[in-house]
Amino acid sequence: MNRINVQNPWLSRSFPDLFMKIRDITPNLTLEVNPTRSGHPTLKADGIQVHSSYDPLREAESIAEKALSGINENDVLVICGLGLGYLAEVIRQRFHGKLVVVEPDLGMIHKALSTRSLSFIPQATAAFGLSPEDTTKVIQSALENSNDWKRVRLIKHQPSIKLNAGFYDELNRIINGRRNQCVEGLGILVVTPIYGGSLPVAHYCASAFERLGHRVELLDNEIYNNARLQIESISSNRNHRNQLTGLLTTLMAESITAKALDRAVDLVFLTAQSPMSPNVIRELRGQGIPAAFWFVEDWQYFTYWRDWAPLYDYFFTIQKDGFNDALARIGVKKSHYLPLAADTQVHKPLTLTENEKAEFGSTISHLGAGYHNRQEVFSGLTDLDFKLWGNDWDELKSLGQILQREGARLTTEESVKVFNATDININLHSSPFHNGVNPEGDYVNPRTFEIAACEGFQLVDERSLLPEMFKIGSEITTFKHESEVRELINHYRANPDERRRIATAARRRVLAEHTYEIRMAEVLEFIYSYETTPASRRHPDHIDNLLEEAEDDPELTGLLSHYKGKGVVTVEDIADDIRKREGELTDPEAIFLLMYEFRNWAKEKELV
């Protein structure tokens, strides 16, 4: 290996960090510079010819000519691969817009700098030696805070890409994701479970997708909860019950296909415990509709992910590391860590009435189910002004005296009032296996985000993933062991200003980073970094297709242009909007109303 030593005053001045990194680098690649007949040196890396061995400059000019056709000055050009800088140099001469030159290999950068004078670099943005994620940030800054990633045009220097295939694959995927974020008006079918903790999460996701401007169809399976309970009481025979439950699940799963196809959706999104069947996932895939599942459960406690994760097209988790490895072992490639969040339209600071303060307020409270570790820890706090809210608590034990509403479940609206009215919310993550804090606890529960979003103050047990989300101390207060809780309560009871400061900072952080909108945007970014075209774009009634067809009719174009970015548009959607709209009815609008009436007629005749 060549040990490279470089003295480059320009580099040390412009990129001090990079300079420090490459000054004494031992390159990964075997880099060999050779002279050519044209006088311009060429390069071979690990036996691969990076440039022409006859005339590298002419070769670069030829690549540039092809690459620059159809490019306009408003685009951001990203040159993937530096080599000895020929391509970047030629493009810089011909293109005067934003230019980003990417090269992940420090050895290559070093070799280029020590071989040629890269005078064009100050006029371009260099993303040298960075990870794919950081490279994306550089491109983002070249976009000057615009989110129009469709303006980003990649010019691929193929030998460089070959040398760092993994890096460029990942970069490509991320850029694709960003580009597809610009895909507006996706149709998303959100499927809810019948009951349980992930039911509200599904609703929050649906609202978030909607607020992101997508068309959301909801398949709310909560309506089958009575049927589920009925099955439990129908027979004492477990096999019969299982058979009936299977039929119910089949009904709910088949409803997904029916609704997804009927509403021409692009994506089916499910949260934990939502009903599904392998056949339905296959059918959806056959129609070009990916199915994504958010496993908002503890993977070590609920193990059904082993059967289901390989079936889904995309699998989102609230835990990483160990779980990611476990998923990789069973062949799940498209999985992504996605922590929980808060719906800030629901969980928000409230002005409570005196009655509400009296009913829902206390110095300390906990809202949640009576898991073993909570029973243990809270038993020692009953002497305090402590209100315990939620179900599955043993009323007969000492906690009965602080348990509210005889352990009835609270509605979401009531929970928000509790978080708002309480001085110190104790948020102890559940564990059936520990007597107090789970020392191995990693994921962060929804309550953490929800209390913070309400600008409530909370004491939360330490979780390994928490510091990524909140600054411990200034945005959130944690306890490592249950023994610390009383002391912390005493401290914060005596320091309301400090409580308020932390709570305000926590809410600010939630609004900035932990809303469901942000999470769902991340979901779509991840999914559409793999997916090419949303299924509905191929649908004949996709607004882009309709507009294309209506090109020769300015009136129709005018009416349809309101739906730009809305994905698939139906006669019913348009007629519905027309009826809701105030003001004079135009002829094109009346024709749509007529079309709607025709559709109704056809429905009556059972033609549709």
Partner: protein, 573 residues
Amino acid sequence: MKRILIINIARMGDLILSSPLVAGLKEKYPDCEISLMHSAHFGDVVAAIPGVDHIISLSMHDVISPLLTNGGGISKAYKLLKSITDDLHNRNFDQVINITHTHFSAVITSLVHCKTIVGMNLDFEGYKIVHGNWANYYLNSCMNRSFNRFNQVDINCRIGDVNLPGELGLVIKDEARIDAGRIINKYKKSERRLIAIIPGASTPEKAWQVELFAQTMAEIEKSNAVTFLIFGARSENELGQKLNAVIPQSINLCGKTSFQLLTALIDECDLMITNDTGPMHIAATVGTPVLDVSLGSALSHETAPYGRNHVVIEPRIECYPCHPKQRCTHRSCHQRISPFMVSELATMMLEERLPDSLSDNQTFKDVNILVTSFDKNGSWELKPLIKRPLTAVDIYNQALREMWKMSLNGQPEWNNYYEIVAREISSELRKDYILPNNDLHNLVDLTSLRSLCTLASRGLEEATELASSEVNNTDIVKISRLGEGLKNIDLDLIRLAYGSPEVKPLVSQYIYTKENLTGWELSSLASQTAKLHEKLFNWARALIKWINAIYEGALKEERVREQVEKMTKCVSV
């Protein structure tokens, strides 16, 4: 030259029932040019209506077919509809008469952009609006069917403001007559009478069971020399085959006739026995006597054959007529009508010995038998052939019919001559019903009508106050109070109507007419509302006065007159 567009997107029967409107318009405006827009499926029917100058066919299937695929048809359907509506607009009609009361026809009407419109339309913001008293009444009658005593033909003519009685008309081409003659010569033996049988109907509820038809035909054959011609659509061929299997002498022509041939053949028949169907109206048009078996949702007062001396047999059963969208499982009404009853009536009709009245004996106890006729104003009506005891419903419906006729036609001072009207109504009732011997008081409960008067007069008072110049536009509190008061009166009216169905037709007419009020100016809207309350008050008050006059005086007089007549008869005998 006046260019008139009639929109009638309906089935065969409804199209035939619009022919008197066309004739009436031609009579009223001799040089007018009439275009008729219809559903393309029934082009032959429209072509046979005399007086139609231009036929505009709307193919529902052409428009809908692009929308039936899995998407992709929106632009195509839009362009097709645009070309249709542009064509309508470009024909520069002077008047549109929309007698199709659907939202769909309202949208089409609005796209014609004509200044003079009667019937359903859209206002400039796209809300449904109905122009014309009788067009509103039509909507009302659809919602309150059991109180409607006007035939569809008369309603159509009144919507179009043409004279009554109307005249049905269909042109039979010579070729069709020749073909019909050929068929009849082939099958009919010289001395036999021809009876048309229509066993099908638009819904199973309306179609008398085919076995009952077969038994009827067998009964008729026993005492009459007849040949049956069975008509129907191709889809009804199975019914024809079944009847043919039982009555081998019958001729199954289901699915084998064009509209022209069907009309020509029906014209040759001596009688038609039918469910409520399109061919029934053909028979009424060509003058073939009809025996109408009215079942399911068929409301005889609305759609029985137009003309004189047709006979309707309908079941006396609580659930008849059912709602048009009702899917019935028991079809008890079918069993109320026996083959014997129908064959008896058919024989009487064939022999032209239908009496002025039938006795209320065991044979006909489960049915009403009605004969079609015209009143002195030329309005079509149904008269009972069996005299039965007069009921409150009979008095009320007769009074209601008179009230609508006078009020909606805008007859001046119509509600002042209540004694004369009461006498006329009573006289008609005496002809058709057995007058009660006991005290007539309490026969009709007028409480709900009185409540309606009270509410309407409160509405009149509050709307008048709102319209008056005394309420300054800036007096928001007062305006809100009065506005709220009027809203509550409307709610009270609706509540009253649901609790007392007899006042529902009045309230519905008020509500539908009120929905048509337009404008932004408060005092103008309030003054229009006041006028409507006044109308509602007058309707209810007239009914109360008439009904009171009927049972307090007129009916008693009639009873005396009846007794005198009886005695005179006895003496002369």
